[in-house]
């Protein structure tokens, strides 16, 4: 099972990729959000902050998060490693996304942008 330290590394790599993309500042203009990633099976919570077009990673939980992803640690890790698209586990119910539909869609797009074709 993906442990908390390993997930922190996965998210750090994801944020690094995100921040390398020249399109992201424009794409996320006006979209400053807290994204919480929570694995109940592993007992860890991490947080991503998107602000001013850049992404940073920190410990969770965060009060008033805009988006919370709840799911098994390995599934969440696979999503942020780019091994698994977020769509399938969302549709089959293995992860839950607590947010507005608009925010969920945007996060989906940004994740796909980061991991590419």
């Amino acid at each position: 099972m993906t442990g908390s330290a390993e997930m922190a590394e996965v998210l750090a790599r994801f944020a690094e990729q995100f921040n390398r993309m020249p399109e992201m500042p424009r794409m996320t203009q006006g979209w400053d959000r807290w994204v919480v990633v929570r694995a109940r099976d592993a007992g860890w919570t991490h947080a991503l902050r998107v602000e001013g077009g850049r992404m940073t990673v920190g410990p969770g939980p965060v009060a008033g998060a805009d988006i919370t992803l709840d799911g098994p640690a390995d599934t969440l890790a696979s999503i942020f490693r780019g091994e698994l698209s977020p769509t399938e586990p969302y549709l089959d119910g293995s992860i839950a996304v607590h947010s507005t539909e608009e925010d969920m869609l945007k996060l989906d797009v940004f994740t796909l942008m980061v991991w590419g074709e």
């Binding site: 399109e23 424009r26 794409m27 203009q29 006006g30 698209s85 977020p86 769509t87 399938e88 549709l91 539909e101 608009e102 869609l105 945007k106 989906d108 797009v109 796909l112 942008m113 590419g116 074709e117």
Partner: protein, 325 residues
């Protein structure tokens, strides 16, 4: 005498727009009826199953099943389920016809339309569902902004070239097409909600607004002064609304019948019914040939006058752009 054909268009759109009409294709009379299911995908599947074997062809409206981005092909999951709801009667989404019809329409407009397309700034609210139109507008010399991310996903990023559009499609389309259609596209009663302006600056910068009409309408700004609109399906109410916002020209890619332009799914279903072929047996050349045989051209409506123009009319100058419509 050839027997008349019956075609039903099952639309995810509003049932308020239901209608019936008779059209003649290649000398064959086709009775077409539209039945909206108000965005309910399950109800659409049930209706298609009921119609299976009862009509000559079924059109699927309100969503595209097949998206063609150049040679790349994507299939919308919700749509695939609906195509499979009938076993005997062919079900088509209009995407093949659209691939042929829309570039033809743009080429016709470039040669004969009332607006000079070369150099014209164009906003395509979405291009992934009509890549043929996007390519044809570029070939005609338009300066096109593709609004797929802006209007489908609410992401303020205008795509400004076909290569960039292809790149985005390769990254996103495979996954996006697996999402429930309602997340991406107005269906059912969402099609009737009053427009909420989104990215009015993009509409303002365009001389021509192009793309799916439900999407154009969903995010319309209050004014469209002297602009042209290139789209697929409109009603008299839509045309009155565009005229009230100051739009100058309306170009619809499907011909006006009984005062209404039918969706490509309706026409493709009618073609399949008339030709008596399975949809997978149709080739773009078949469709192009038939369209040429019926003298196809897009409809051009002079919105302030509420009718087609008498001849090729020069559009009036637009404020601040040196006379471009």
């Amino acid at each position: 005498m050839t027997r008349p054909r019956r075609v039903v268009s099952v639309s995810l759109g509003s049932s308020r727009r239901d209608h019936r009409a008779v059209l003649t294709l290649d000398g064959v009379e086709v009775e077409v009826a539209r039945r909206g299911v108000d965005g309910d995908v399950d109800a659409a599947a049930r209706l298609i199953a009921e119609l299976d074997g009862q009509v000559d062809a079924i059109g699927l409206g309100g969503l595209d099943v097949h998206l063609w981005i150049g040679d790349d092909h994507y299939v919308v999951r919700d749509g695939l389920r609906l195509l499979g709801a009938a076993q005997a009667t062919p079900v088509v989404d209009g995407s093949l016809l659209k691939r042929v019809l829309e570039p033809m329409a743009v080429r016709w407009l470039a040669a004969h339309g009332p607006v000079e397309l070369a150099g014209l700034p164009v906003l395509m609210v979405s291009a992934l569902d009509r890549f043929g139109m996007a390519e044809a507008l570029t070939e005609a010399g338009c300066r096109v902004v593709y609004g797929d991310l802006m209007f489908l996903a609410g992401i303020p990023y205008p795509i400004t070239s076909l290569p960039e559009l292809r790149k985005m499609a390769r990254r996103l389309a495979g996954e996006m097409t697996r999402l429930p259609i309602r997340l991406l596209y107005p269906t059912g009663t969402d099609q009737e909600r009053p427009p909420e302006a989104r990215h009015p600056e993009a509409y303002a910068a365009a001389g021509l607004v192009a793309g799916d009409f439900h999407l154009i309408r969903r995010f319309l700004p209050p004014r469209l002064d002297r602009k042209a609109v290139l789209t697929n399906t409109t009603t008299g109410e839509d045309r009155a609304d565009l005229a009230a916002r100051g739009a100058r020209w309306l170009f619809t890619t499907t011909p006006l019948l009984d005062g209404r332009s039918f969706g490509t799914n309706v026409l493709e279903a009618a073609l399949v019914a008339v030709l008596g072929r399975r949809p997978e047996e149709l080739r773009p050349e078949d469709i192009e040939g038939l369209l040429r045989s019926i003298g196809y051209r897009p409809a051009v409506v002079d919105l302030p006058a509420g009718r087609p123009p008498a001849g090729r009319a020069a559009p009036g100058p637009m404020p601040g752009d040196g006379g471009r419509p």
